[in-house]
Amino acid sequence: MLLIRCPYCEAERPELEFTYAGEAHIARPADPSKLNDDEWKTHLFIRSNPRGTHFERWRHQHGCGRFFNAVRDTVSDKFAMTYKAGLPRPTETELEKARS
C-alpha cells in the first residue's frame, strides 16, 4: 500500500484514501467542435502509457476530495512528487531535485 502526499492537505496518507484518475496534463479543448475526428480521437483515447516516469492524476477521495497531479515511476511505483491541479508539468530539474 502506497503512501501518497496530498498537496492540499500537505500530508502523507495511505493509498486507501485515494483514487487514481488517469494521465495528467490532458486539458479538455476550449472548443471541442474545432477539432477534427482524428484530433478528437487522440484527445479522448490516446495516452502515453510510459515505462518509467508518468504524470498522472489522483483524487484525495476520502479526504479533502481534491484532484491533484503526481509523478510516479511505473516500474518502481515510487512517487517523485505530487502537486496541485492546474500547476504546470514539473521540469526535469525539478524532478531530479524531488527525487534526491
Binding site: 500500500m1 486539458a27 478528437w40 479522448l44 483524487r59 484532484f67 491541479a85 492546474g86
Partner: protein
Amino acid sequence: MTSYRIPEKGRVNQGKPVRFTFNGASYVGFEGDTLASALLANGVHLIGRSFKYHRPRGFLSAGSEEPNALVGTDRGPGRFEPNTRATVLEVFDGLNTTSQNHWPSLKRDIGAVNDALYMLFSAGFYYKTFMWPKSFWNKVYEPIIRGAAGLGKSPTTPDPDTYASRFAHCDVLVVGSGPAGLAAALDAGKSGAKVILVDEQAELGGSLLSETDAGINGQSGWQWLEEARSALAAMNNVTVLTRTTAIGYYHQNLVGLCQRLTDHLPNPPADAPRERLWKVRAHQVVLAQGSIEKPLVFEGNDRPGVMLAGSARSYLNRYGVKVGNRPVIVTSHDSAWLAAFDLAEAGVKVAAIIDIRPNVSGHLMESAAALGVEVLSGWTVTGTSGRLRVASVRANPVSRSGVVGSARTIACDALLMSGGWTPSIHLFSHTKGKLDWNEEGQMFLPGEATEESRCAGAGNGVFSLAAALAEGAAAGAAAALDAGFAAKAASYRVDGELVLTGANNRELPTDRNTSKAKAFVDFQNDVTAKDIRLAVREGFKSIEHIKRYTTTGMATDQGKTSNINGLAIASDAVKRPAPAVGLTTFRPPYTPTTFGAFAGYNRGELFEVTRKTPIDGWAEQNGAEFEPVSLWRRAWYFPKKGETMHAAVARECKSVRESLGMFDASTLGKIEIVGPDAAEFMNRMYTNSWTKLAPGRLRYGLMLGEDGFIRDDGVIGRLTTDRFHVTTTTGGAARVLGMMEDYLQTEWPDLKVWLTSTTEQWAVIALNGPNARKLIEPLVEGIDLSDEAFPHMSVAEGKICGVPTRLFRVSFTGELGYEINVPARYGRAVWEELYRAGQQHGITPYGTETMHVLRAEKGYIIVGQDTDGTVTPDDAGLGWAIGKAKPDFVGKRSLTRPDMQKADRKQLVGLLTTDPNTVLEEGAQIVLDPSQTLPMKMVGHVTSSYWSAALGRSIAMAVIEGGKAREGETIHVPTPGRTHTAKVVGTVFFDPENKRLSA
C-alpha cells in the same frame, strides 16, 4: 512402541506430556513439541503421500520450509484445516490430525499406481495430454486427474473463528530472531527506537535453538539467548511477536504480519481471535530471515527417513529426539558432520558419513574417527531401499575422473543429507530489490535495496555465528541511526565455532540409468531432475518457462527447498550460468496464510455496508422482500400472506394504475448544485439546456461521458436561479458527483459553483396513481396543487404533514405522481401518516419490481439496465433531450464521430412476443434468422422484460442493430429448448398519449 526421546535433552518440557492423535492412533508428546518432533519421538516417519505419484513421504525438514509433511487438523466443528505443516504445528492435549493424499489408508494407497505410471506424469504432462484426442481426455485423463488432484481436503462448513487486524508504526522492524535478528533488535532497542521483532516460531532464537556448540560472550548459546530475551522484554519500546510470520514486504516499508494467537492452545478463550493480521509501517526494516538447507538430488531421496541433516540436528538438540538409531549422513557440506557428531555424542550409532567431496578438512576427519564413525569421502549415493521407511542406502566411490565404482549397501533407518544452505531472500525479493548471484556459494544474495532495509546474517550469506551477530548488531544500530536515534553496535565474542565450508552439486553422480531415476528436486510437486532436463530438451531455456512446464517451485512451499537445486540442474542442461537462466520471483505470502487472516473483520455483515433508508424499518415490519441495489437494500415487493411474487407485483401494479401506490424512492442520488454559475455548469454537464428552465420547474436531465455514451439520468429541479436539486440513479450518485467535481476542479475552476451530496439528507416518498392529489391536498401547506399552478414537472417548497418539503410533481409510472422530499429524520413519520391517510384510497406500498414494470410499460429507461456504456442518446431514443443549440457539453463532440452515426448501431426498441404469455429472459440474445448455421449472428439482446398486468401480456425492451428501422419485423430469441418469436415495436406500451399524467 519404542521411544526415540532422549531424557533430559532438548527444550521441550519433558515433565508435561500431551496426548494427541494422528490418523486415529493416540500418541504422547511433550509441551513444546511440534507434531513432527512428537511423531518422530514415537518412531513415526511416514506422514503422508506425495501429490502426483502418491509416494510415501516423511519429514524432510524441521521448519516452515517443509514440503512433505502436510496434515489435516481438526479442532472441532467447522475447524478442519488441510495442509498444515506438521513441522510447525505445536501439539497440545486433544489435537487431532490426519494424513493426506491417500486412499484407502496411508500405508496402502491405490493412487500409488501413479508412481508406476510415472512416464505419463513427466514434465509437461498436463500440456501434452491436452493435445491428445478429446475423447481420451474426457474419458481417461480428466477423471484420473480430478480424482487425484488437490492437496488435502477443503473444509466444507463456514469458518466459525474470528480474525483480528491491526495497524502499527515503528522505527525499526526486525524480521527473524536468530542471532543476527536478536543482535539487531537489542541495539535498535537500546537506542530508544520503537522496535518490533517478529519470528514465525513459538520461541525466539532461530538457529541458536538447534545448535549447542558455540558460546557467546563466555556463556553458552542458550544462556545468552535467555539474557537477550530478558533484555528485550525489559525494554518498553520493544514489541516482541512470536508465532508471527512476516508474510509480505510491500511499498514504503509496509510489512504484513500474520500472528497466530490460539492454534497452539488446547482450550482457546471463546472470544479470542484465532489470528491477527498486522500492517506495520516501519521507518527501517532489518531482514534476518536466516537460511534453508538444500537437499541432495539422488534416486530415492524422498523415502521416509531421508531428511535434512540440519533438521535432524534440530530434532535432537531442540526437541530431544533422535530421528533414528542407525543414521547415515550424505553431504557435501561440513554442517552435516556436526549433526553426525551431535548424534554420536548422544549415543546414536552413526553408520557412516558419506561425503561427495574427495577431501574433507582434517579436524572433521579426526572428530569422526574419535567418535568411531566410518567416513566415505569422495563417494556418492545412488539409491535407497525400504517401502515405507528407508532401510538401506546404496553408496558408490567416485574416482577423480568421475567414474562411479561398484556399489556398497549400508543398512540404516535414517539418511541425513545436506547440500549446503540457501539464504532466505524472500522478503527482500518482494521489494524487487536487486539480487546478486554468488558463484562460489551457488546462491542469490540481496543486492541493492529499493526500500529502507538491511539484510543481516545467514539471510545475507553470512553463515558464521560470530559474523552474523556482528552484522546483526551493525544493521540494528544503523537502522536506529537512520530512524533518528543515537545507536551503537555492540560487539560479541564467540568461542568454539568451527569454520564450515561446502561444495555444490547438481544430481549426484550415479552408475544407474538417469532417464529412469526418481531423484526429486521439488518434493511437494513431485518434480524430478529428469523432468527438468526433459523440459530443457524440449526447448525451454528460461527458468520461468521451465518452472511452469515442470511445475517445479510452484507448490505451496514456493520451492523453498527446491529452487536452487532446480536452477543448478536447469543451468547445467541449458549450458548457461545460473543467473542467465534466472531465478523465479518470490511473491507474498512467505508461507501459506489463511483467508480468515486476510478477511479480518470484513466478513458477514461487515463485508460491506448495507445502506438502509429511513423507511426501511417500516418495510421490514410490513413483510417486504428486499433486493440489493448497489450498496442499498431496497424493498422489492410486499407480498401478502401466501402470495407469490408474481401475484404481489400484479396487485401492486393494478393498485397504482387504478387508485394509489406509495414507493420509497429515498435511495435516489441527490446533489445540490448552487452558485451564480450553476446554470452554466448544468449546461456543460448535461445534454439538455438549462438556461431557460424557470425556477419551480423540473426537467429530465441526461448525462454523457466525454465519449458520447449515456452515463446517468435523473429529474432535476430548479429551485431558484442559482440552485438546482439534481437527482441521479441510485447506483450512480457517487460516480456522478465525482465526475462533476473532476470537471469543476480541473477544467472549469473559474466557475462559481458548489456541489453537495444530499442523498442521505432527503427521504423521498413517491406517490403514484389517480388518487395521488386527493391524498396529499389536505396534508400540504403553502403549495397550490391545482393543475394550473402546479402542473406536471413542477417543484415547490412548502410543508407536508407539518414538516418542510420539496415537493416534485413528477412520474416514473405514467400516472399522476409526486415525489415528496422531506428531511430524512421525518421520512418514516410522513410515510406512516400518508399510509394511514391513504387507506380510504386503498393505498398500496410497492417495491422496485413494480416500479420497474410500470416504467417499462411507459418505455422509461433505466440507465445500466437498458444501457450498458455503449449507448448514445439516439440509440436510446433520447435524441430529444439534447440541447442542439448549445455550443458544447460533455460528450457533444463525440456524437458526431462517424461510428456514432452508423445506421446499424444497436438501438432500443420494444418487443411483443408472439405468445403473449411468454416473458423473455433478460439478457437473451436476438437473431434475425433462426435457421442459420451455428454460430448464429446475434444482433442484440433483451434488456428489460416483464409481465404487464395492465396490458394482460408480456412486454420487453431490447437493443437491436438498426432496431428503429425494423419496427414491425419479427425477430427470434433462441433459448434452451425453444426459440421464441417477437415483433419489434415502439418502446411505449401504455398510454402513449400521456393522458394519465395530467388526469
